[in-house]
């Protein structure tokens, strides 16, 4: 069934961190959704697009619709993705990569100040940000977006800036810290593409920048969250150090 906006928002309110992306898409009035309903309430929901993002119980029910959409990735709460993948795998290409157990971290109390020069990115920062965003994207997804679709990726990066969802701390053209919001709801902001230029690493800039960004965002929303590759030990250590808690796991199946 095709759920309505109110059903989606009620469903997402049950777990606003896990479902932050779904709620953001619904509030924007964008994206395509499929749902499983019981007595008028959603038991499962799936965003069907470039990425398939399932959530809830019995997500295998979305297999046919997801296969038709030929997504590039299945991503979301680990059990929901596993149920969907088991049902859909025979109709989809062999995956490039399967990443179970990607920890999702959340913080809801402001960490100590980082005393950085963190600021909202402007369109004038676009040329500096595009290569860094692309490198972060490649690190997370395993594909260089500038090789696949440079103009499109530049457009996406610009859009994030124009929507005030991009922040950076830079000095003399070196990015000491940057991150973007991949989803934003009244309950939570989800960060992505957290990055420090290679020449500026191991100096504590990442921790300071992230602390200041979390402080900034926690003035506007109750929680800031992100997810990370399970093998990225240094990033996980950083998130734990600033007080983020591991609250659930995502799974990504890259196709």
């Amino acid at each position: 069934m095709e759920p309505n906006r109110e059903q989606i928002l009620r469903f997402c309110a049950e777990d606003p961190v896990e479902r932050v992306f779904l709620e953001d898409m619904a509030r924007r009035g964008a994206g395509r959704f499929a749902g499983v309903e019981r007595r008028g309430e959603l038991r499962a929901l799936c965003h069907v697009g470039v990425n398939a993002v399932p959530s809830g119980e019995e997500c295998g029910a979305f297999a046919r619709e997801v296969a038709r959409a030929a997504p590039r990735m299945l991503i979301g709460e680990a059990n929901a993705v596993s149920e969907l993948w088991e049902e859909a795998r025979s109709r989809l290409p062999r995956p490039r990569e399967d990443r179970p157990g990607q920890p999702v971290f959340v913080i809801d109390e402001a960490p100590p100040a980082g005393d950085t020069g963190l600021r909202a990115a402007g369109v004038g920062d676009l040329d500096l940000l595009v290569p860094a965003c692309a490198a972060a994207h490649e690190q997370e997804i395993g594909v260089d977006p500038l090789r696949r679709d440079a103009e499109g990726f530049r457009w996406r990066t610009r859009t994030q800036i124009e929507e005030a969802r991009s922040w950076l701390w830079e000095e003399d053209g070196v990015i000491l810290f940057k991150a973007e919001a991949s989803a934003w709801t009244p309950s939570a902001v989800q960060l992505q593409q957290v990055w420090v230029d290679p020449e500026a690493r191991r100096a504590g800039f990442g921790s300071r920048g992230l602390r200041d960004l979390c402080r900034l965002l926690l003035e506007r929303v109750p929680a800031v969250c992100l997810f990370v590759r399970a093998e990225n030990a240094s990033a996980i250590r950083l998130y734990e150090t600033i007080g983020m808690r591991h609250v659930l796991d995502y799974r990504s199946v890259l196709i």
Binding site: R28, G29, G31, R32, V48, D149, G152, W155, T159, E162
Partner: protein, 208 residues
């Protein structure tokens, strides 16, 4: 109308062959163009779109169709945004039209019953007004290279140039708000009444 995503159509057979093509419906998209149009849909996946706008040309309609695939969005054709009428250059090499256009005044009509750049600009302004008056909030508008260039320049306060300084990418969206569009419509309409191309090296200034 609040937000407009304006894009040139994806690669069509006439682009591949380097042809000037202004008679609707014209050739449709190439396989590469279909991929470009799908990518356009992906780029706009996070955006709310209430209305799709194309011209009478098949290449814009097919771009819209692929970009909005999976969405239930009403679509309309706005002929005022059609390709400029190339006159006797229609069906010939676009390079020949560009050579003529680069050397002639904006008020001169293309030979063979064609349209002048000033007339096209005035028509585009009417097309923008039609889109602006729609009750929907967010539209994807698929147009042609000249119209997209004129509108983007005009939204930034620039009058048209004799030739496009930079190509307009196929199927790449440009986000404009209603104010941008209104500004573009007013500037193009005003320019069309006393047209003079801008000096390419001097932002916005018309050739004396």
């Amino acid at each position: 109308m609040r937000t407009i995503f304006l894009a040139r159509h994806a690669l069509a057979g006439s682009n591949r062959d380097g042809l000037a093509a202004c008679t609707p419906p014209g050739l449709g998209l190439t396989p590469e163009g279909v991929e470009q149009a799908r990518r356009l849909g992906e780029l706009l996946e996070h955006e709310k779109i209430d209305l799709g706008v194309a011209t009478e040309h098949l290449r814009t309609q097919q771009t819209l169709e692929h970009a909005l695939a999976g969405r239930e969005v009403p679509t309309i054709a706005v002929p005022e945004l059609n390709e400029i009428h190339f006159g006797s250059f229609d069906g010939g090499l676009l390079l020949e039209y560009r050579a003529w256009a680069g050397a002639e005044s904006p008020s001169l009509r293309a030979p063979g019953g064609g349209e002048s750049r000033a007339e096209a600009a005035a028509r585009y302004a009417r097309g923008l007004s039609i889109v602006l008056e729609r009750p929907e909030e967010n539209a994807l508008v698929i147009g042609h290279a000249l119209a997209v260039r004129y509108v983007l320049d005009a939204a930034g306060g620039l009058v048209p140039a004799a030739l496009m300084a930079s190509p307009v990418e196929h199927a790449l969206p440009h986000r404009l708000d209603a104010g941008d569009l209104r500004r573009a419509a007013e500037l193009l309409e005003e320019w069309s009444r006393a047209p003079a191309f801008r000096v390419p090296s001097v932002d916005g200034r018309a050739v004396p």
